[in-house]
């Protein structure tokens, strides 16, 4: 259990190889080198589960490795439980880490792997046994204790890796994409296991993933990163409902949010409306208030609407027309890829709400009418992509 504070943390890779990599991932390059992580500020509370999420090369793993002590911190301060640990060796930080590749010791049995960190601490044999057996029981790997890692499946290996981390009862448990090597079914299963584990052990978690579903389901708070910069920090609901910018809006949510070119206009009474094609949509009162508070001027904007917030509508006023390109039958819902104003949009239609229409009714080439209300829209500035309400 511990609080972790990252203050103005930066990581610069001076060597040329990273520079080449950096140029591909739009990382900022200075005279000093490639800025893999820029001005990272975050206070993680005791027993909090924080998830760092973002696409490849966004700096999330680098940040985690800096917390672990595996990567040097170029600038900034890292505190664990109020103690500055910038120069402390990994073993002196009282942290444990679960790696994507499991990183089990192949020549040791499961028991040997789990005992290893405790033996290094010169812990009492009985205490070692107690902790190993307890962790094995929590993770359901008691029967595999005498096996070598090569005799285990991917899921079992990942449990052992988690077991090796939790036997130490560390202040902070770091997890670097622990589920990425597992197949989809096992990943869902292990995700649930981690949620259960979190309830059973009292520790602070920092979890890195590129999978937004994992981030949404596991984290108390999510830190969304891009090109070494934090884009938004918030609870899963906050980042879903109020994305700070276009990147977050597109990254969080599956399928991803639909974006349209639109105009934000204002009438004489001071009320805002969004004009898309020839349709006017009035933002909700709350959104009106936010826009007024931020003194937003009428301008060209990018309008974002989540696929599940779009409804199929009958012909009439204030409806939009699109052409179905692909129809994906998902069982309880139909995902319709609709060409609207030259872009591919996704509309999720619940099969129950189709009003008796057969899903095959939406074959490729058919036109449909749809609409969305003013309380589900997200408005982003064209220039900087920032949410105009934020």
């Amino acid at each position: 259990m511990a609080e972790v504070s990252l203050r103005h943390i930066e990581k610069v890779y001076p060597n040329t190889e990273k520079k080449k990599k950096g140029s591909k991932s739009n990382l900022k390059v200075t005279e000093e080198g490639v800025l893999a992580v820029q001005d990272f500020n975050l206070d993680i509370k005791d027993r909090e589960f924080v998830v760092l999420v973002g696409p490849s090369g966004c700096g999330k793993s680098t940040t985690l490795r800096m917390v672990a002590g595996l990567e040097e911190i170029t600038r900034g301060e890292l505190y664990i439980d109020g103690v500055l640990v910038n120069d402390a060796a990994p073993k002196d930080r009282d942290i444990a880490m679960v790696f994507q590749s499991y990183a089990l010791y192949p020549h040791m049995t499961v028991r040997g792997n789990m005992e290893y960190p405790l033996k290094l601490k010169k812990m009492d044999k009985e205490e070692i046994n107690r902790r190993v057996e307890q962790a094995a029981e929590i993770l359901g790997i008691t029967e595999y204790l005498d096996r070598k890692p090569k005799a285990l499946s991917g899921g079992q290996r990942q449990r052992v890796a988690i077991g090796r981390a939790i036997v130490r009862e560390p202040k902070v448990l770091l997890m670097d994409e622990p589920l990425s090597n597992l197949d989809a079914k096992l990943r869902n299963q292990m995700r649930a296991e981690i949620i259960k584990l979190r309830q059973r052990i009292d520790t602070t978690f920092i979890y890195v993933t590129h999978d937004q579903t994992e981030a949404m389901t596991l984290g108390d708070r999510i830190v969304i990163m891009k090109d070494g910069v934090i884009q938004q920090v918030g609870t899963p609901q906050e980042v879903f409902d109020h994305p700070a910018n276009l990147f977050v809006a597109g990254f969080i949510g599956v399928p991803q949010m639909n974006f349209y070119d639109a105009e934000l206009v204002r009438d004489n009474a001071g009320d805002y409306a969004v004009k898309i094609e020839n349709v006017y949509i009035r933002p909700s009162d709350e959104k009106q208030e936010n826009l007024r508070r931020n003194k937003v001027e009428p301008q060209s904007i990018t309008l974002g609407v989540r696929p599940e917030h779009i409804v199929l509508a009958d012909e009439g006023e204030n409806v939009l027309h699109g052409t179905v390109e692909v129809m994906e039958m998902m069982g309880s819902a139909v995902h319709l890829h609709v060409n609207f104003s030259g872009r591919d949009n996704i509309i999720i239609a619940q099969t129950m709400s189709l009003g008796g229409k057969n899903p095959s009714h939406f074959g490729a080439g058919s036109t449909l009418t749809f609409s969305f209300s003013g309380d589900v829209i997200h408005m982003f500035g064209k220039k900087d992509g920032k949410n105009l309400e934020a």
Binding site: P90, K91, A96, S101, L104, Y105, P106, Y116, L120, K121
Partner: protein, 280 residues
């Protein structure tokens, strides 16, 4: 198509069989002659199998062991081989681990230097080496491992580096987070992982050091210390007379341990040499 492939395979088998016989024949000849009496080993009779009249039993072996101080030579050879191999394994694996994990211009240069040392023929450096060994008092069997370490490092570092590159660094990082110091990581994690490569390096280096003739002859005081390879030439007496029977027996005794080591560890040689070549 299948028939053609089978015919080609058959041809290759015959060719390889002939090559094997060519390789094995000298050893067979030595073995055969080591069991013959002295008078039956001449230029004209050397290729004949022993007969009832020419069969000497193990007399030549007894002679080889008792005369010329075979046991002390065996001890020196074994001592030099074991200490050198241990030194090569310890220093080179640690060095390879370091230069693989810490990538700087210096470590890259050191790696290239090691690889380069493999292509420098011993004959090019042997005289300066011999004089340097005298100056540094490295001319006894007890410290000869220092010189063998230098000559064996090229191959060993090359093989260890090849393997280390295939080992994910995560394992060592996990060990560091678990509380290991770099030395504990080396001994607890890296050495067990390197074991197959260590076995193959040990066998290759042991075969070379055990059989080496030129280096100990140049460095050691021939009147005090003789390795088995050096001892063999002492079966040549004055006026060109050679005790062929005991010499052949001595050769057989000299190569026997190394053949046993090779046979026991041959699968590790293949495993060790190809380790790191492909993604596992």
């Amino acid at each position: 198509m299948k028939k053609k492939t089978r015919r080609i395979n058959g041809m290759w088998s015959v060719i390889m069989l002939i090559v094997s016989v060519l390789y094995m024949y000298p050893i067979f000849m030595v073995l055969m002659n080591s069991l013959k009496i002295e008078s039956a080993i001449s230029t004209s009779t050397a290729f004949e199998l022993p007969t009832a009249e020419t069969f000497a039993g193990l007399a030549n072996y007894e002679n080889a062991i008792n005369a010329q101080g075979f046991l002390s030579s065996f001890f020196y050879t074994a001592f030099i081989t074991i200490t050198s191999v241990l030194a090569i394994l310890f220093f080179c694996s640690m060095f390879a681990w370091y230069i693989t994990r810490v990538e700087t211009k210096v470590t890259k240069a050191l790696y290239l230097l090691c690889a380069f040392s493999m292509v420098v023929p011993f004959q090019m450096v042997m005289f300066t080496l011999s004089s340097m060994a005298d100056t540094l008092n490295l001319n006894t069997p007890w410290v000869l491992w220092v010189i063998y370490l230098g000559f064996g490092a090229g191959l060993a570092v090359f093989m260890f580096c090849g393997f280390m590159r295939s080992v994910p660094i995560d394992i060592e990082e996990a060990s560091m987070i678990d509380g290991s110091s770099p030395l504990q990581t080396y001994f607890h994690i890296v050495v067990p992982l390197l074991r197959p490569t260590m076995v193959s390096v040990a066998i290759l280096e042991a075969m070379w050091i055990w059989n080496d003739y030129l280096l100990p002859t140049l460095i050691l005081d021939i009147n005090k210390y003789r390795t088995i390879s050096m001892l063999i030439q002492f079966f040549r007496g004055s006026y060109g007379r050679v005790e062929m029977g005991p010499m052949m027996a001595c050769i057989m005794l000299a190569i026997l341990p190394i053949i046993i080591i090779y046979l026991v560890g041959q699968k590790h040689i293949i495993k060790g040499v190809v380790a790191g070549a492909v993604k596992g």
